[in-house]
Symmetry: C2
């Protein structure tokens, strides 16, 4: 099976109350693909500069990630982001953004990429997402991520992009902002009315929820003692979700539910260390252990009340 992700590859510099890291592999594509690589074969479409070296390439190689469609512009620099988190680790404060080669990014898909079974359109301009979507007409499931910037600046183009995909993955504040609906279930229903057959809403420390025309599924988050660096948690979630789905023959509701758990498991590891560090060295046992923990801490017996 085959999974394609399109988005940013970046160097991140992050400060948190617990430490700082000057330069680490980041961007939606990196977090997504490393996470997904535990479940399936991933191919990435993105762009990097001459400063993207062997150390970074080795990370992708070690996870069997196909970088054939990763464009390299030797005379340019890779996208850089610098951010800070205070004690409220839910809010990233952007200190500096250097788009560099990412400023003129035009995703170029090889013929093989165009035949991918599953596609994740990472958080880039909606017009680019639509251009990619056009080229993967045969994909069984196309998912899209976005952010407040595109909701605020390119809302109608974003809505058109959403109309063309099967699944929207979005955080709860963005879902409300996008639909101007404060009640989440109404926000989700509005998005479903535009075209997607599923909406997955990420709620950070409160878990995630999935809405379809005829079903609803909600899970709490894995309980963490400490969140060290939340950068990339959303893309790591999406990577686990889509990676797991691509490992399954049937993309039915039951598979989607398990995929949400695996996505949550991967995100829970991601935030424990800087950048992709923790997720880079996971084992399948560690992943399955947390999957099992999810079952343990959400299970209850279905015994209706009967008056004595």
């Amino acid at each position: 099976m085959s999974l394609l992700v399109v988005g940013s590859v970046a160097f991140d510099a992050v400060e948190t109350p617990f430490g700082k890291c000057e330069k680490m592999l980041g961007g939606s594509t990196s977090h997504f693909s490393i996470s997904a690589s535990y479940f399936t074969k991933v191919r990435i479409v993105g762009v990097v500069g001459g400063d993207f070296g062997n150390d970074e390439q080795k990370v992708f190689d070690a996870h069997g990630i196909d970088t054939t469609d990763l464009e390299r512009i030797a005379e340019g620099n890779t996208f850089r982001w610098r951010g800070r988190y205070d004690y409220d680790l839910n809010v990233a404060h952007t200190l500096e953004t250097q788009l560099n080669v990412f400023a003129n990014f035009k995703p170029k898909l090889s013929e093989e990429a165009k035949r991918s079974r599953l596609v994740f359109l990472g958080n880039i301009q909606p017009e680019l997402q639509r251009e990619v979507r056009e080229q993967v007409k045969g994909a069984e499931l196309v998912a899209l991520d976005t952010m407040n910037l595109w909701i605020e600046t390119t809302r109608s183009s974003l809505q058109k992009a959403i109309e063309t995909v099967h699944l929207l993955v979005i955080n709860d504040a963005e879902a409300r902002q996008l639909t101007e609906e404060p009640v989440l279930i109404k926000a989700a229903r509005k998005i479903l009315s535009w075209g997607p057959r599923s909406v997955i809403v990420k709620r950070g420390e409160y878990g995630a929820a999935m809405f379809t025309q005829d079903s609803y599924f909600a899970i709490p988050a894995y309980p963490l003692e400490s969140v060290f660096d939340p950068t990339g948690a959303g893309d790591t979630f999406a990577g686990g979700l889509m990676g797991y789905l691509d490992s399954q023959e049937k993309l039915d509701d039951a598979a989607m539910r398990r995929a949400m758990i695996f996505g949550s498991v991967m995100a829970s590891f991601n935030v424990e260390e800087f950048g992709t560090q923790r997720v880079e060295r996971l084992t399948h046992n560690e992943i399955n252990d947390r999957f099992h923990a999810f079952k343990t801490f959400t299970h209850f017996e279905e015994l209706p009340f009967v008056r004595a």
Copy 2:
């Protein structure tokens, strides 16, 4: 079996973006006992004034609630609260509080009340909670609720009260405030170290979580299209929780988990109409239907990932 609740009985006046109600039965004891009455026999300890009439008494009577220990001060008035909710229904704005007879409330327990199997110490001054706790030494499970006012004004007395109970029911902002621990799991662990064997944290639209020394359980909330009036949701949750527990012979982890679901079910009904209106006319079928819905929207198959 027998369940005792101590707390306020009030007349509430509430304005929401969807309507207003000038005078309705409220207070922690009312919400709690009506909710609990669907599962067990409840006895209330509280105080009302001469303005507490037949209409209010009939509500308690209709639910088989034992009001023998409800003190009546004919020459005084019942506690009154007036509040407003804006579109963010999570935040209650208090417009007016008239403590009236509640200002000098001293809970008086009959001999029968003192022999209750389960006791809920509703949100009143911690010193009064401790006085009641002293009188129900043989209770199998004593639970305590509180609010930010007591955390801010009587913290050490509150902590002493918490030390004496089996279960603390608290909302998440209060748990963090009480322990000065931003990470919920650490806040819960601190509270457990004071004495309680369980802490249940209410998270509003995000559900609820239960922490014990050796287990964790978390559930999302019932997905609601509209929240009409959130007043009393926390007490209604506690009423379903404690009422269900009192209907069970064994108060083990499995019963506690089911009790949290029943508590959430009752709270989900509570917010659909003003005050206690919706909960007053529930059927056991409606309650069990939502219990079943919880199973449906949280269920997933436990299939570990196996690489193909």
